[in-house]
Subunit: 391 residues, 2 copies
């Protein structure tokens, strides 16, 4: 234990990201290990939102729409683009992840006439499966749930599109985007990646891998705020054939012409639907500024080190009382999931001790390690608290 304390202190002192934590509005006594579910607030967000309400809305009123609000979905999208390896003009922020999944899946099915199957990760975060089920019903296709490891057995010339999660929300396992994308393309199908649990975790190379479509949320490792709007990536080469079903005026080529017929915008704006939600969008805009001074490679390195250190602390302090579900090699995101039959109660008891993780049914304790603000001493304190509860 003494050794772990010393090591945590040393690792924190040597952490190249240690100053970034100061930009967050976090209670010093709280060990916050749920940034994989709701990221912590950057201090600048409260100030920005106040400015948007009091100045942009209060003083400029309707004039703020042409002064920057209307194009905010694309402008904020450009701040996400480098985090997912996208050149400009291919990411837009709009709606929720569920809604963007719907757009992406319908558009992908329409790109593949004659192919009648949608393949979806059977262990996916449920909303992905629910939306895929709905898209299958509306487009007259068939849903094929399959474990991501067993893709080979189901891909065929019937496959229209495959929807996969980059990081599994329960286990924290990271899937090989390059390999799966290549497999799906070899079958002549389209791939849609859900990046909810990987964006802001590690460098993602959507352009380089030739990914067809991707969606992700912004309230986890991007710290956009509760339910902040999601994003969608449509690469330039596919934008012309990207026909999405939520054809609101926001995606129109000339929204204020008030044409009777829908004609989609030529670029990424066609992935928009209705009027953008400005307060939340500009809160996210402010939160994304933290990435200007942060290198994703540092984030990834610290995330792996933090989760490894936490697993080591768990091994030493908790031992076999829990099972570590998350892969111990590098095929993981920035969360560690532990299995225990009393997981739900344990999460409540830990929270009462200001160690905040979360519970996923039926028996998973989930701890997220957001490298921008989580310290090695937090990892040790969490393992110590868990050990005390199980002792």
């Amino acid at each position: 234990m003494g050794d772990l304390v010393e090591r945590a202190a040393k690792l924190d002192a040597e952490d190249p990201l240690r100053r970034v934590r100061d930009e967050f509005d976090l209670d010093p006594d709280v060990v916050y290990l749920d940034g994989n579910s709701l990221g912590a607030p950057l201090r600048r967000v409260a100030e920005r939102v106040e400015h948007v309400v009091r100045e942009q809305w209060g003083r400029r009123l309707i004039r703020s729409w042409p002064e920057g609000w209307w194009t905010a979905p694309e402008r904020v999208g450009e701040k996400i683009a480098p985090l997912v390896g996208a050149a400009p003009g291919q990411v837009v922020v709009a709606d929720s992840t569920s809604v963007n999944l719907f757009k992406a899946l319908v558009a992908a099915v329409r790109m593949a006439p004659g192919r009648r199957e949608i393949v979806v990760d059977a262990a996916t975060f449920p909303t992905d499966g629910y939306i895929a089920e709905s898209v299958a019903e509306l487009t007259g296709t068939v849903l094929r749930p399959v474990l991501a490891d067993e893709l080979d057995g189901v891909l065929s010339d019937r496959t229209a599109v495959v929807l996969l999660n980059h990081v599994d929300y329960r286990t924290g396992r990271l899937y090989d985007m390059a390999a799966a994308t290549a497999k799906v393309h070899a079958a002549g199908a389209r791939i849609v990646w859900d990046l909810c649990h990987s964006v802001g975790v590690l460098p993602i190379e959507l352009d380089a891998l030739g990914v067809d479509l991707a969606v992700g949320c912004t309230y986890k490792f991007l710290n956009g705020g509760p339910g902040s709007p999601a994003f969608i990536y449509v690469p330039r080469g596919l934008q012309g054939e990207f026909r999405q079903p939520l054809s609101g005026w926001g995606g129109h080529r000339d929204p204020f012409a008030m044409d009777a017929r829908y004609e989609p915008a030529p670029g990424i704006a066609r992935a928009r639907a209705g009027t953008p939600d400005i307060l939340s969008l500009l809160a996210l805009d402010a939160a994304l500024d933290v990435w200007q001074d942060v290198d994703l490679a540092d984030v990834r390195a610290k995330g792996l080190a933090l989760t490894e250190f936490f697993m080591e602390c768990v091994d030493e302090l908790v031992g076999n009382a829990v099972e570590v579900v998350t892969p111990r090699d590098d095929r993981r995101g920035h969360q560690v999931s532990l299995r225990h039959p009393d997981a739900e109660t344990l999460v409540v008891d830990l929270t009462a001790r200001e160690v905040i993780g979360d519970y996923r049914t039926p028996d998973i304790l989930r701890f997220g390690f957001a490298p921008l603000y989580v310290r090695y001493q937090d990892a040790l304190r969490a393992a110590t608290a868990l050990a005390a509860l199980l002792a």
Copy 2:
């Protein structure tokens, strides 16, 4: 002119809503006549949003989800319900108007198997038509645009659903909801009302009229903020058969059970899709509190009086230089639209004089009169400024 000045002063002094203006954060020198496009901010909104960011998010972090965030869509919906004549449990706040229209139209088509036509107001705000076009394509139905006055000619046993705007966004004309609803029902079809330009304007009686479905935005006369989330009404009697296509986890019977299959919530929550956008939703929540002390009948009376007084001022000061497009009888919302070939330039010039209305293509000057904060003296000042520009 002297008479108009005196009358404006007297009308303002006698206005039962005159104190409500103090609750808004408005520059005293601005004549804001665009509340039909973006309502002005209530003072309490900035305070509430700051509380949500700094306290609920910053201090309580993930714990705020079970402490009130997750059920906010229904809770805020209950504040809108009395404004549209809905008993509790029938209105939920979620997504944008475009997205809610999509949900409503697909659900309505599914309620009418065998009926293959969607009738939509040909003069509708374009997003309604665009979304209806998309729903027609996805559901294999046919879109029939028709002027709202000519419904009789198109309703038949082929009609699945009719989508109408309660108030026309260009002319400000108010349609007879009771008569149109009865006509559509007589044809055995469903009706969806778009309330964007009427909610917060006059008492609406969705339950009493047996309306099937309705949607509306909250950033106009409800002052929810730029792009604040929209609402959808599904009456209790139709909730069981309301099957909407955006089957995100937010509408699931038990979202945190993480079931592999989608099972919709039994009540209005089934109209939700993804994770609710909390900052914007709670800004709206705060804005809606103004209605606790306001009687919609007073709002309607003042709105009619304000628009009538404005038309009178225009008649006297501007005369035939513009055409009043909005009906002069009571069949109007709370906007007055004027036609002039130089409408676009005139709106810019008025804005430079701090008289803020808006322009709608090709030749419409549009002035919204939000009775909660617009004064009779504002109406006079707007007409006076317009007269000066046209002199």
